[in-house]
């Protein structure tokens, strides 16, 4: 059983992801803020985190940097979703923390594929050039 934590302040997106990614061998935990997401991660030890960048309160990047600073969650695979026009922050996260970035709006099929391959290898697939 693989566990995925989804963290986004947009309820429709969170709900949609729950439907999009659901399968018999996955458990999907939904959270609506960065703080809630962190709590869920420390309680549930997931195999993957999908997090939005722009959230009120704690932003997605703060969540990622907190996780990377903690030895128990340092290697947690993370997929960052971003709806910002400029992807500079997200690109930095990709370079520094080895997370995968998906720009909104994304192709649902692509996200599905990315989640499947990440869960399989236990880490975010890195771009070939890296």
């Amino acid at each position: 059983m693989k566990r995925i934590v989804v963290c986004d302040d947009e309820p429709h997106i969170v709900e949609g992801l729950r439907y999009l990614l659901r399968s018999a061998e996955r458990e999907i935990v939904v959270t609506y803020s960065g703080e809630e997401g962190l709590r869920a991660i420390s309680a549930q030890r997931p195999d993957l985190l999908i997090v939005d960048i722009m959230m009120p309160g704690m932003s997605g990047l703060e969540v990622v940097s907190t996780l990377r600073a903690d030895p128990t969650t340092r290697d947690l695979p993370i997929i960052i979703l971003t709806a910002k026009g400029q992807a500079s922050d997200a690109n930095m996260a990709q370079e520094v923390w080895g997370t995968t970035v998906m720009a909104k709006p994304f192709q649902p099929q692509e996200l599905r594929k990315l989640v499947a391959s990440t869960l399989e290898i236990g880490a975010c697939p890195q771009p070939e050039s890296a």
Partner: protein, 760 residues
């Protein structure tokens, strides 16, 4: 063209009358022409490249210039003329062709310059970016009284000749025994030659070094390295003249470079704002698109995976997100329509009670979703107001949508409406997180979230409240916010029932001044502040709001404010501290209006306040008070004093302020030039030491930057200034002794009125 001659109609004509020779044809026509032979550039279209041609100004007549042209120009057609120098500071002068006749050298064209209209003279000079340059940074230093090159040559010759005479005399006396007469003569000539050569070399050495350094400086300038110029000292009077000219040129380059840098910086800032707007708009567009794409995809791919209820839910979400997109697009279009005045607001007498009540059902589903309570407190009928019900409904919808958006689940939102005095007060309260006071200044601005650098989280483009403010203002109403962090926020809309007109009648001359008058209003009470801002804005003034004393001072420190309208009680400062801070600002070119429940005009007057208004203040009184200070400012001058140990700056500026002038104190001539230029000062005051010989270049620069400003030079016991020097700079020289400022104040007053008369 003559460097001292400003390219400006009055100056050109004045110059021609003074130095030009009257034409022999004088008397045969209505106007006299004077030949001056200035080279100018003329064109029929200044926007087209290469459309101009160089001409010699042949003559200057009563109202313009004349020149020979190969082209024939139709009478009354427009021609632009400017100084031949390719200088960004020279602007095209617009003229009309009033004479065109064929002569021996082509067509003789006469151009009359358009007379500036009387209102033009009221307009402040356009702001130009000027970098303060102090004398230490000028590349060539010209100090003291320098000997001329000729005198130096005479010295060398005199020394050589006297050496020759001395040797001849010594030889004749038999100084070296046994030498024949011829040999003695040769020795004397040789000695004279050696001494002369040495003296010549020694005297010319500094000149050669100077020229070499100047050469390096010019090469540096050509390579665009203005700051690499080494400071060099001019060795003689002639080279000092070249040095001053070079300093002038260098200063101009420097100012131009500075202007370009400022422009670049501004463009970069605008670019940054544009990027932020794009980023936020794209965020607000991408989020609903993501949901729509995801749900449609799931329905298309695996419709059978989901139950009928789930599928229905998906369609509901898609529908909701489509509406969200439509709203965003609508908001952007709405702002565009409001700004282009494409929206017609039809004011009809109406009872807004049904409109207000009608907003509740729209939001009930949304409130239920977040388990929030949405309540209304409104009588069944409200007094009639002149309003556009659809627009007011839009206002309430925007406010309620905002309240629901920012209040966490389980919260409460209340809409209320009732009559209060002569207005209808509508409010929307919530018990959400609240808005800190320092954000209130910008909350109704367009793209307020983009402009605010502190915003780390983005919840929307920030157009809703801007739309609200625009609609309410077009109803002659007022909108404001009151909030406590952690307790909640309330938005208020006040619509006038009838009566007090918003537009206060003013004379056309005064109305013309409104748009150029920058006002900062400050008040602890958000409602009163909104009323003040709105009243002044409706009457055409350029008004900004500050909800705290600190914000007010920040605005003032940036300069560029004409009038301050403030409550004496601001939330973050004591009354005395506020007044002290206002008086303590060194660049005090603004006037102060204080309104309060307590105090008397005399007491405030002693503390530098121009007008005191006792509350409650009517709209009429407020606008009248601004007129009073503007008139007072027009009657008094703006004086810039260059600080110096020779003068009691503090006492002098206090006395000038008491005499009604706005006083700015500058630390150096460079700073004074900038201030005088920026604020259109009437009088610059400098002390004897400030105009000492070595600062001639800077004084010249000051005269160029603020040519309309009168210059008063204080001749002090330590540094006496003779009237000659005064005449050279077009300055008035006044004897000054420490502690006797009264006489100076009187001269400044006279100079100020003279400067103003000349300006107009």
């Amino acid at each position: 063209m003559n460097a001292d001659l400003e390219f400006e109609p009055a100056a050109l004509i004045g110059h021609a009358r003074e130095v030009g020779e009257p034409d022999t044809y004088a008397g045969k026509r209505e106007w006299t022409r004077y030949r001056i032979g200035v080279r100018v550039e003329a064109t029929t279209d200044p926007t087209r490249a290469n459309a101009s041609w160089h001409v010699n100004v042949h003559d200057v007549s009563g109202g313009g210039v004349g020149f020979w042209s190969k082209q024939k120009l139709p009478i009354a057609s427009t021609v632009w003329v400017r100084d031949c120098f390719e200088d960004s500071e020279t602007t095209w002068l617009k003229g009309r062709v009033c004479h065109c006749s064929v002569g021996m050298r082509g067509h003789l064209i006469g151009i009359a310059f358009d007379q500036p209209t009387p209102t033009d003279s009221h307009e402040p000079p356009p702001m130009r970016h000027v970098e303060p340059i102090d004398e230490e940074s000028l590349p060539i230093r010209v100090s003291g009284r320098l000997v001329s090159l000729q005198t130096k040559c005479i010295y060398a010759t005199v020394i050589a000749v006297s050496t020759a005479i001395a040797f001849s005399f010594l030889m004749a006396q038999g100084f070296v025994p046994g030498l024949s007469e011829e040999a003695s003569g040769i020795v004397a000539i040789a000695a004279a030659l050696i001494t002369g050569t040495f003296c010549g070399w020694w005297i010319a050495r500094n000149d050669a070094i100077f020229l070499n350094e100047l050469h390096m400086a010019i090469r540096g300038m050509a390579a665009g390295k203005l700051d690499s110029c080494r400071v060099i000292e001019a060795p003689c009077a002639e080279l000092a003249t070249i040095g001053r000219a070079f300093n002038d040129l260098w200063t101009r380059w420097k100012q131009r470079e500075y202007g370009e840098r400022m422009q670049r910086q501004k463009l970069e800032e605008l670019g940054q704002i544009k990027n932020n707007i794009l980023s936020i708009v794209s965020h607000d567009l991408r989020t609903p698109l993501t949901s729509i794409l995801m749900y449609t995809n799931m329905l298309m791919d695996g419709g059978s995976e989901f139950s009928a209820d789930e599928q229905k839910g998906f369609l509901g979400i898609i529908n909701e997100e489509c509406h969200r997109l439509a709203r965003l697009v609508e908001d952007i279009l709405e702002v565009q329509r409001l700004e282009s005045d494409a929206i017609r607001i039809e004011l009809t007498p109406c009872d807004l009670a049904p409109t207000i009540a009608g907003c509740v059902p729209v939001f009930e589903p949304l409130a239920d979703n977040k388990s929030m309570t949405l309540s209304i407190d409104c009588p069944e009928t409200l007094p009639t107001v002149m309003a556009d019900a659809d627009r007011i409904s839009q206002v309430i919808n925007n406010l309620v949508a905002n309240a629901l958006k920012y209040t966490p689940a389980g919260g409460a939102v209340q809409i209320a409406a009732h009559q209060r005095d002569k207005e209808l007060l509508i409010s929307v309260h919530d018990n959400g997180p609240g808005i800190p006071r320092d954000k209130w200044d910008h909350i109704f601005d367009r793209f307020s979230q983009v402009m605010d650098p502190d915003v780390s989280e983005v919840a929307g483009v920030g157009l809703g409240l801007y739309i609200v403010a625009r609609i309410v203002e077009s109803h002659g109403g007022t909108v404001w916010v009151d909030s406590k962090v952690g307790e909640g926020t309330a938005f208020f809309v006040a619509l006038p029932l009838e009566g007090e007109p918003l537009l206060i009648p003013s004379s056309p001359a005064e109305t013309a001044l409104h748009a150029t008058c920058k006002i900062i209003a400050c008040d602890s009470d958000p409602e009163l502040l909104a009323t003040v801002v709105h009243t002044l804005r409706a009457n055409g003034f350029d008004v900004r709001a500050a909800h705290t004393g600190q914000r007010l001072l920040q605005h003032l420190e940036q300069g560029d404010v004409d009038v301050v309208v403030t409550d004496i009680l601001v939330p973050d400062m004591h009354a005395v501290d506020l007044l002290d801070a206002l008086n303590g600002l060194s660049h005090r070119s603004f006037r102060t209006i204080i309104h309060s429940y307590e105090g008397d005009a005399e007491g405030y007057g002693r503390r530098g306040v121009d007008v005191f208004l006792r509350r409650p203040v009517s709209r009429q009184e407020l606008v009248e008070a601004v007129h009073v200070v503007l008139r007072r400012r027009a009657a008094a001058g703006r004086v810039v004093i260059v600080q110096n140990h020779e003068i009691d700056t503090e006492r002098l500026s206090r006395m000038l302020v008491e005499a009604g002038h706005a006083v700015m104190v500058a630390g150096s001539i460079g700073e004074a030039s900038v201030l005088a230029h920026k604020y259109g000062a009437d009088v610059n005051v400098v002390s004897g030491e400030t105009v000492a010989d070595d600062r001639v270049g800077l004084i010249n620069m000051m005269r160029k930057l603020s040519e309309d400003t009168a210059l008063v030079v204080l001749s002090t016991p330590q540094h006496g200034v003779d009237t000659d020097l005064g005449e050279r700079f077009g300055a008035v020289v006044v004897p000054y002794t420490y502690g006797r400022e009264e006489d100076v104040v009187d001269v400044i007053r006279k100079e100020r009125s003279r400067a103003v008369t000349e300006k107009s």
